[in-house]
């Protein structure tokens, strides 16, 4: 019955729908969504390609090949004249590479009198063995005359060959390792004395012209000094400036002008701050070149606008009712700011500061002009000593001719990315944890 009634219902009963372009509008929305998804996927694809290429090239940098050799600290090699009691230089100038070579010759079972075979060993072990063995002897001269197992670094070329990065199918004249060296390498590998270990040197060594003994130690310390200086200077100055501008200063043309200038400064290319640093800190104030103090000051100038803008935004986000309540209960304006507004704005301020610091950590351009893009091998004891920074070390390694530096460069990028990610995650966590919404 009902079916019939529906069937027989006059069509005209439903009012004719006005064409308001609903379909077209839905289509437009669907198109727009597709554009959005495409934009995100393009971004993600490029990010994935970048990360994959860095990780693929760089993960090997965290491993370093070494040979464990029984080094006999032979007095005849170290101190043939027996003068070490009177002349301390003997222990410094001794022929330590010979010790490592002797041990390797014995290990490989080469006849020590076969000079031609011994000469082929050249370039097998790292020249860094000299310093490594010297440090052992100088710190404890009683090892002379004894034999001790030491993990000696192999040269960068052998390291690359061991990791399979050198194409061994090409003629041996065209590559940096000879067939004989490869045979010795396989022999040592079979005996289990030549193996890859975690490359702690990547984090502790300073700059070096030898890939196997170069690391980011100086760069990490330099970056640490600079971040400490930036935090110590930019945070108090930036917060004080924003509190004054936001809470105390009269709103007039002059403060507007200051605000416009701060916003402009935040967008100034960083190299300009480097020029300023060179002119003011190095040439006018006579501060040392290449020192992290100058780098820190330059980066402070660069970070200040970011911190001021973030802090002012955080202060402005605190609702006026809090201010009114504080003042109404008899607090002075300073008490209102420091007891109520600032604690509530703190998460926003910290987030801004961390993001500013992260940006400063990744800067190279301003450091170029104040001489921090340099070869620095010694640890800086104070911020007044020459140092480099993490991104600078990446740049320096990118300019090297040796193949082994390529993996180190990618490894350094991974380390820098981890630092940056840790900082940004801290910022996000702080915001999530402490942010209040009204």
């Amino acid at each position: 019955m009902t079916d019939v009634s529906i069937d027989t219902m006059p069509v005209a009963a439903a009012p004719a729908r006005r064409d308001i372009g609903l379909k077209a509008r839905y289509r437009a929305e669907r198109r727009f969504r597709i554009y959005g998804v495409l934009a995100i996927s393009v971004g993600l694809i490029f990010l994935a390609i970048m990360l994959a290429s860095i990780v693929l090239k760089g993960h090997t940098a965290f491993w370093q090949t070494t040979v464990t050799l029984p080094i006999s600290f032979d007095e005849k090699v170290i101190d043939p004249q027996g003068e070490r009691a009177t002349d301390p230089n003997v222990l410094i100038k001794a022929n330590y590479p010979k010790l490592a070579e002797n041990a390797l010759v014995a290990k490989l079972g080469i006849n020590a009198d076969d000079k031609a075979a011994v000469r082929k060993l050249k370039g097998f072990l790292s020249d860094g063995a000299r310093v490594q063995l010297r440090d052992i002897v100088v710190s404890d001269p009683s090892v002379i005359g004894t034999t001790r197992d030491v993990e000696v670094l192999v040269s960068a070329n052998m390291d690359s060959a061991f990791k399979g990065q050198i194409d061994l199918s090409v003629d041996q004249a065209r590559r940096k390792v000879s067939d004989q060296q490869v045979a010795w390498m396989n022999q040592l590998k079979a005996e289990g004395v030549m193996a890859e270990h975690f490359n702690s040197g990547l984090f502790t060594f300073g700059a070096s012209s030898r890939p196997e003994t170069s690391g980011m130690g100086v760069a990490i310390i330099g970056s640490f000094y600079m971040m400490a200086i930036v935090l110590l200077l930019a945070l108090p100055i930036g917060v004080a400036a924003s509190i004054y501008l936001e809470e105390f200063a009269k709103k007039n043309r002059f403060t507007d002008l200051i605000e416009v200038n701060i916003n402009n400064l935040a967008a100034v290319p960083s190299i300009v701050f480097g020029l300023l640093g060179l002119a003011v800190f190095v040439n006018f104030l006579g501060m040392p070149r290449s020192a992290s103090i100058v780098g820190g000051l330059v980066l402070t100038l660069m970070t200040l606008p970011t911190i001021i803008i973030a802090t002012r935004a955080a202060l402005a986000a605190v609702p006026p009712s809090i201010r009114a309540a504080a003042l109404g209960l008899g607090a002075s304006r300073m008490q209102m700011v420091f007891h109520h507004i600032l604690p509530l704005a703190a998460p926003g301020i910290l987030t801004g500061t961390i993001i500013g610091l992260a940006r400063a950590l990744g800067e190279t351009a301003p450091l170029l002009l104040i001489g921090m893009v340099a070869f620095v091998a010694d640890y800086p004891a104070t911020p007044f000593d020459p140092a480099t920074a993490l991104p600078v070390q990446i740049y320096m390694w990118a300019n090297e001719a040796e193949r082994a530096f390529v993996e180190r460069m990618s490894g350094a990028i991974i380390i820098l990315l981890i630092f940056l990610m840790a900082m940004n995650i801290t910022a996000i966590v702080l915001r999530r944890r402490f942010e209040r919404r009204w």
Partner: protein, 345 residues
Amino acid sequence: MKRYLLTASAAALVLAGTAGFASARDQIQVAGSSTVLPYAKIVAEQFGETFTNFKTPVVESGGSGAGIKEFCKGVGENTIDIANSSRPIKKDEVQSCIDAGVKEIQEVKIGYDGIVFATDINGPDWALTPEDVYKALAAKIAVDGKLVDNPNTKWNQVNPNLPDWDIAAYIPGEKHGTREVFEEKLLIAGCKKLGGVEAGTASGLDEKGAEAACKAVRKDGKAVDIDGDYTETLARIDSNKTGVGVFGLAFYENNADKLKVATVGGITPSVETIAKGEYPVSRPLFFYVKKAHLGVVPGLKEYVDFFLDDQMVGPEGPLAEYGLVAAPDAERAAQREAFDAGKTM
């Protein structure tokens, strides 16, 4: 909170104030040519390892011109001690040094560097002459005694013995120290042999203008200036297998499994042919020492002596191993003598 803020800002002021009165520098500072940089790094590192009583020198890169400019800023703790350079210092640079108070400069020649042409390892053999390079890469070339816009688009149009490849050359950019050798030893040399200078003067240029016309590189995209380092050139060749790149000898030797080197004038570039002066495209490398800093900056004299020692710059030393072409024995001895005698420019 208030007290904390006050202390923090006071600490900041003290920190900024003390910076002006830094302690005396006890570390040598070097800046300059990126070609000399790897050699200076090797010497600096070994110097630091050998002389444990001195710190390892700090070596900045940035180019010959920039290094000399820093060097000529004056005398004092916050100026550098040594400028590395891949070309001799110019007269006006010496003058600006003198104007700034750097009156005594000691020149030290450390050896030679060669630049080579190289192609992808799988390509055919290449034999170039300065004339070929000029005809392929100059903006205008001499044809029948007249300068015309370079019509060549393929290497075999330049010289029938070269392969049928589109001309694509990756040459050092204009701020590169290597560029001068490239212009001098290839473009101008080739131009002179082919009568480009006469063609230039015939079309109304003076002698200087004609020479400048010789070394003007074509701007139609067939010759690409590389302002970065050789790694970038190598990447270009990787992506364009018929490209020709210009490299330092040391860089080529480190990447000989990827690159094939071209002969120039029939001579294969090698340490031997450059030391003998047979290979045409090579140049001397220098560094300049501020005499006023000798005896003031600890270790400076020892560093230069160590650099000039045969165990460093000699033909068996680590610099030669890296690609530096050692100067002949007599020349090295003369450099040592001149430095010890305190000879200034």
